[in-house]
């Protein structure tokens, strides 16, 4: 991240979002909303004095509400750019009109409460979508008691606790009484592979991070014992199977094949009731901490962004690639590429690999003066177009735009956006819209010649 911020060919626009995309491959007009961070990026030196002296404390989103942050803050230590932002919802100046400590103390004079939101429109040749994922809300499983029992947490919570710069400084503790847990139960596939929760897919990362966490726990706290309830262990990757075996053999993690049915509290312990299908019997465990491996789900606003970008998405909200095997990083919309878990759950090596592939595909477009396109695209005959613009409505790729010629509005196809699906041709009432190579006249001629041949070979009589 830091490296990209220093590269002269990369302009980072953080704390900003895409609000509109117009145009087509090689020629996108992207409107970006730059949110005000109330700190002048050109002046701020990143000394952190404002953060230190800010009097307000609010739950830290980065630490999943397990720790506190200030109202002027950076999400995490290594955040790029090294410039804080003011949270106007909690800042004393923005809520009550007093304080201003950060402005008074800032040695660079970078704090600027007057900053306004900015809309910028820029031209781009290609777009790479890498908006990532979020985690499934486990409170959908009432029987697991996430949200109700303090000591039922998610894998991400444990990950934050294991981080030495995290909310507990690297110590794993029970959220209820801050004591170290002895028996830790991991539950896999919480939200994944569950038709009843509408997510039949495998989240792909949980098997491996759970094995990693079990190893780390045993490493940091040799007294702990991990139990992992799973349906299948999906360790498909280089050295993955060996890694899971290490967790089992060298770190003594007990893998129990079966789902957990219920978790309930008994004293200060959690009783986990599950099944060991390999032993063929129910099991109950006394756990100090339960860690849920929650499913990978798309960002809540993934579909909104898909509509802005005009790219297709699946029933879950993951963006769809142009071809699952041959065009895995291309979106159906030309010039827009997909990478990371916004497409489907991916682990780090897969995300890095697809990012490399998507970047190269984007560079390929930028390195050429001219693009070669499929000739089978639609066109509108301007002489007979009635200007009803029904075709504009039915085009799934926004490839038809109205233009005015001699005071008359007619439709015109943007060939770079068109995929030649033929929706416009079948909708057009005047037969003005046609697909190159598949005009009405050409299709009639083909049908006529087929009948000629059939007649010549006496097939028509035979079939009667």
């Amino acid at each position: 991240m830091t490296e990209s911020s220093h590269d002269e060919n990369i302009e980072l626009m953080t704390y900003a979002e895409v609000v509109d995309v117009k145009g087509f491959v090689g020629n996108f007009d992207v409107t970006i909303r730059k949110k005000p961070r109330y700190v002048d990026m050109t002046k701020c030196t990143g000394c952190g004095l404002c953060i230190e002296k800010c009097p307000t404390k609010v739950p830290s989103e980065w630490n999943l509400d397990m720790g506190l942050r200030k109202s002027i803050y950076k999400p995490f230590g290594q955040a790029v750019p090294n410039v804080p932002v003011i949270d106007t919802e909690h800042c004393l100046f923005f809520t009550k009109g007093r304080c201003k400590i950060c402005q008074k103390l800032c040695p660079a004079g970078a704090v600027d409460y007057e900053q306004k939101e900015e809309l910028v429109t820029k031209k781009f040749g290609a777009i790479i979508v890498a908006t990532g994922f979020t985690q499934f809300d486990p409170s959908a499983y009432g029987e697991y008691g996430a949200g109700k029992f303090k000591d039922v947490i998610t894998g991400l919570h444990l990950e934050r606790m294991l981080d030495t710069s995290g909310p507990t400084g690297g110590h794993v503790v029970r959220p209820s009484d801050q004591t170290e847990p002895k028996n830790i139960v991991f539950i896999q596939c919480v939200g994944s592979r569950d038709e009843s929760k509408g997510r039949p897919y495998c989240s792909r990362i949980c098997c491996m991070y759970t094995a990693k966490q079990a190893i780390l726990l045993k490493d940091h706290y040799p007294e702990t014992q991990s139990y992992i309830f799973y349906i299948d262990i999906r360790a498909a990757g280089k050295n993955y199977e060996e890694f899971v075996k290490r967790a089992q053999r060298d770190y003594g993690a007990i893998y129990i094949r079966g789902r957990v049915s219920k978790i309930y509290e008994k004293g200060n312990k959690l009783i986990v009731r599950g099944v060991d299908t390999l032993a063929g019997r129910q099991v109950e465990l006394e756990a100090d901490l339960v860690v849920l491996a929650t499913a990978v789900v798309p960002q809540p606003d993934a579909i909104d962004l898909a509509k802005i970008l005009n790219i297709p998405y699946d029933q879950y909200g993951f963006y769809t690639e142009a071809h699952p095997k041959l065009q895995p990083v291309e979106s159906v919309t030309k010039g827009i590429f997909l990478t990371g878990s916004c497409q489907f759950p991916k682990d780090i090596p897969d995300s890095v690999a697809t990012t490399g592939a998507a970047s190269v595909r984007a560079c390929e477009i930028l390195s050429k003066d001219e693009l070669v396109l499929d000739p089978k695209v639609a066109f509108v005959n301007p002489d007979i177009c009635s200007g009803c613009l029904n075709c504009v409505e039915v085009c799934p790729f926004n490839a038809i735009e109205p233009i005015v010629i001699n005071g008359k509005t007619i439709a015109q196809v943007i060939p770079t956006l068109c995929h030649g699906c033929g929706n416009c041709a079948s909708t057009c009432r005047t037969s003005a819209a046609n697909v190159q190579g598949f005009t009405d006249d050409q299709i009639y001629a083909q049908v006529a010649s087929v009948f000629e041949i059939l007649k010549k070979e006496n097939f028509l009589e035979l079939s009667e």
Binding site: K182, Y227, Q248, G252, G280, V283, L285
Partner: protein, 187 residues
């Protein structure tokens, strides 16, 4: 319903490991041992289930099952195990542990047979078939079970009345003595 012993879940695994060097935590529960076992239909727990119960620290279930007593030690499981676990060896250790624990043995007949068989060997250096059959059937309280086979086998010279004895029975007795001494020094 059974509670897993969360005090020391690896206790039984480690005991088996110390006894014969076979680590059951390697087992991936593929089931190939049970798939190839020629006598698995007779067992109350399949070989892979036995390994599973060692993994989840349930000696009570393992030591009273019939599996290790029915096991013929043919070693098909050991040869075919993808994790190279010597399951037949584990079965052997389990027999030992079951006898030590003095739990009701899953297959009483087998234990009786083994005792009588070894007794015969100890005395003569070779098995005395007639004695073995009679003692075994008496022990099972069905003395005439195989009586109808006796005359036929006798006529064909398959059963000797007195039985054979090897030349140096003393050496056999020494083997028995030594093995007992090893066992005592172990415990």
């Amino acid at each position: 319903m059974s509670y897993l012993n969360s005090q020391d879940i690896h206790q039984f695994r480690n005991r088996v490991l110390a006894l014969n060097g076979e680590d059951v935590s390697r087992c991936i529960q593929c089931g190939k041992c049970s798939a190839g076992c020629p006598i698995s239909p007779e067992m109350d727990l399949q070989p892979n289930q036995v390994i599973r119960f060692i993994q989840i620290n349930d000696p009570a279930t393992v030591l009273k099952c019939s599996t290790m007593w029915i096991c013929a030690s043919c070693q098909t499981c050991s040869v075919r195990c993808p994790e190279e676990i010597d399951i037949a060896k584990i079965m052997d250790s389990l027999r030992k542990l079951a006898l030590e624990a003095k739990v009701p043995v899953g297959e009483e007949k087998v234990v009786k047979f083994d005792e009588i068989f070894l007794d015969s060997i100890r005395k003569r250096g070779r098995v005395h078939e007639l004695e073995l059959v009679m003692k075994y059937n008496l022990a099972l309280l069905q003395p005439f079970k195989d009586a109808h086979l006796g005359p036929v086998m006798f006529a064909r010279g398959k059963l000797g009345i007195l039985g054979h004895k090897i030349k140096e029975v003393r050496k056999i007795k020494e083997i028995f003595k030594n093995s007992r001494r090893i066992k005592q020094s172990e415990s």
